[in-house]
């Protein structure tokens, strides 16, 4: 070692990340115990949620976040909110990636002032009903998955504390949507929505029911983003986490819609080797995947990648070699969840990579086509996936507007009527996805092509598809069902729909009793 005078080093004051002269006193204290002993005493693992909440310094008025990978089986949101309420913290903003039926206990926390404001992709069940009837002073902000990701990335939606449930986690916070160390317990596959929250939240707490040995690799969330880990008995109900998304429909209407949609895809010009696609989890969407598989085998066409919410159908095609790669932000069923664990090219991606409009490239922009569902479509091709025919909130925006905007061909599949309610109408209750981004509407009683896409229309004519116009579909629906009386609303705004660029595209009003 040579003697040196720190201040005589040329340009030393211009060197960044240089913290003066080395001093032995600052040396990291070596810990001589074995790795296994050490991880038993990880300082990140806390005995209770209450302790974790105290340590992260949660205060009145802060913003907390949750993911919705456990869907209707989720215990985490209610568990955490109960503890927060007991601790007397008030006025929180709850910014979940989405909320569903099982989150109705939030109603009491809203009434008691624990939750002041909610941001989510969707609301359902009693909570959706209560919000539609004027539960909250502050309107609920609905964002698409891409819009939420963008808001988090830009810092506009600042998360103080993320509470993220994970089916497995090690003592340092490497968390995953499945458990590689045993087959028991819950499994949700991709942690796509949680990944972004972990990355951007000031503090991140992982809540798990399976504490496994370090390193829990490959991980969905790395320990470098995790402050604390809390082990609880149960993070969710496995049956609710995987509630019947994958089902082989026998409904003849859905099968007919799927046949039409598949023929439309095959005729569209996008069905060629190395195409890309996203399918939903609805009955008709799943049937499309099944029919499309037949065409792929017959014509020896392979799919380069499938994106999105992933189902067992897509996994089956991947394992057969028909779909080369899978980009998975959310696994819809157990087969998909296990595939994330077992298949090298079934990749979990975060919400920003999936659909954000502000990052340097989102996967939705590489889609040839997407199959989407709808509660309502109007004659301008606008789509509602949020409010029911009674005007009550009962849906989720999800990635609907993101994929519709990104895909080269956006196909909306829906029955012409649901029960007596027309699906195709003059004006949707709530616009979630603007008609300018919707290209084809496939119903059991014909296909309508957006006039902005005449070349698709020509191809469908050549293929002999049952074409009609969107106006004719609306007229037919009303002739069969009768014209419904308009929904009665009050003037009060209870929900605000953000488009994926986080501009207000529509509002939801309180329903009149």
């Amino acid at each position: 070692m040579s003697e040196f005078d720190y201040n005589s080093i040329p340009h030393i004051n211009e060197v960044s990340a240089c913290h003066g002269v080395y001093d032995e006193k600052n040396l990291w204290q070596k810990d001589p115990i074995s790795f296994d002993e050490r991880q038993q005493h990880s300082k990140k693992v806390l005995p209770s949620l209450e302790e974790a909440i105290r340590r992260v310094g949660l205060k009145d008025g802060m913003t907390i976040s949750f993911h919705h990978h456990f869907r209707n089986g989720d215990y985490v949101v209610n568990m955490v909110m109960d503890v927060i309420a007991k601790m007397g913290i008030k006025g929180l903003t709850l910014a979940a990636s989405s909320l569903t039926d099982c989150h109705w206990p939030l109603i009491d926390h809203i009434k008691n002032g624990v939750i002041k404001h909610i941001e989510t992709s969707g609301l359902r069940g009693k909570l959706g009903d209560a919000v539609s009837h004027g539960l909250m002073d502050f309107p609920v902000i609905f964002r698409s998955h891409g819009g939420r990701a963008a808001a988090i990335e830009t810092g506009e939606l600042h998360i103080d504390v993320a509470f993220l449930g994970a089916p497995s986690c090690d003592p340092y916070g490497n968390a995953n949507g499945y458990n590689r160390d045993s087959e028991e317990g819950s499994c949700c596959g991709s942690l796509g929505y949680a990944k972004l929250d972990a990355l951007y939240a000031d503090k991140c707490i992982i809540i798990t029911d399976h504490l496994v040995s370090f390193p829990n690799t490959p991980f969905g969330i790395p320990e470098s983003q995790v402050d604390y880990v809390v082990k609880v008995d149960n993070i969710g109900d496995p049956n609710g986490i995987m509630s019947g998304a994958t089902r082989f429909t026998k409904n003849p209407k859905e099968l007919l819609i799927a046949q039409y949609a598949t023929k439309a895809i095959v005729a569209s010009g996008y069905f060629k080797n190395n195409f890309s696609m996203q399918m939903g989890s609805g009955g008709a969407s799943l049937a499309v995947a099944r029919y499309l598989r037949e065409y792929m085998l017959e014509q020896d066409i392979k799919c380069r990648f499938a994106l999105g919410g992933i189902t067992g159908q897509i996994v089956q095609m991947h394992e057969e070699g028909l779909v080369k790669k899978i980009l998975d932000v959310q696994s819809f069923d157990l087969i998909a969840a296990n595939s994330v664990k077992n298949n090298r090219f079934h990749e979990q991606i975060d919400a920003s990579y999936y659909a954000s409009y502000v990052n340097k490239g989102a996967a939705v922009n590489q889609l040839d086509f997407v199959i989407l569902s709808a509660l309502e479509v109007d004659t301008e091709f606008n789509v509602n996936v949020m409010t029911g025919s009674d005007g009550v909130i009962r849906g989720a925006v999800g990635g609907h507007p993101d994929t519709a905007a990104g895909a080269s061909m956006t196909i909306v599949v829906c029955p012409l009527l649901r029960g007596r309610i027309p699906t195709v109408c003059s004006k949707v209750n709530t616009i979630c996805t603007p008609g300018k981004t919707v290209d084809v509407v496939v119903t059991d009683q014909g296909i309508a092509v957006n006039p902005a896409r005449p070349e698709l229309y020509e191809k469908f004519v050549e293929a002999g598809l049952p074409l009609t116009t969107i106006e004719k579909l609306r007229d037919r629906a009303e002739r069969i069902a009768g014209t419904p009386e308009p929904i009665k609303y009050t003037d009060r705004i209870v929900g605000v729909l953000m488009y994926r660029d986080n501009s207000v595209i529509d509002v939801i009003r309180q329903v009149a009793d």
């Binding site: 007596r420 309610i421 009386e485 929904i487």
Partner: protein, 100 residues
């Protein structure tokens, strides 16, 4: 047509309606309706039930209907069947069914 005893037609299945008709001593049709689509089609369903009974000449009855999104033709058909059963009549005159 005279309503003699309780008569029921229909099911609780989606897109169906169950119509129950019972005798009433005084003049008038007393109708209670529950519907999955009350807000949008409640008035229309009531209209179809009342018109169907009127065509049959039923003027005294309690009617209870639980609708699961039935179309007008189904509402009329179930009302008609319930009325015939209540009247203990098997002399069906199918032409009474107006094409809606």
């Amino acid at each position: 047509m005279e309503i003699k005893r309780p008569g029921v037609a229909g099911t609780m299945e989606s897109s169906d309606i169950i119509v129950r008709i019972e005798p009433k001593e005084t003049e008038g049709i007393e109708l209670t309706l529950e519907s999955a689509v009350m807000q949008q089609y409640g008035k229309q369903i009531e209209k179809v039930i009342r018109e169907t009974l009127e065509e049959l000449g039923v003027t005294k009855a309690y009617v209870n209907a639980v609708d699961k999104g039935a179309l007008d033709c189904t509402v009329a058909a179930r009302t008609l069947a319930a009325a015939y059963r209540s009247a203990e009549s098997t002399e069906y005159v199918w032409s009474e069914v107006k094409v809606k």
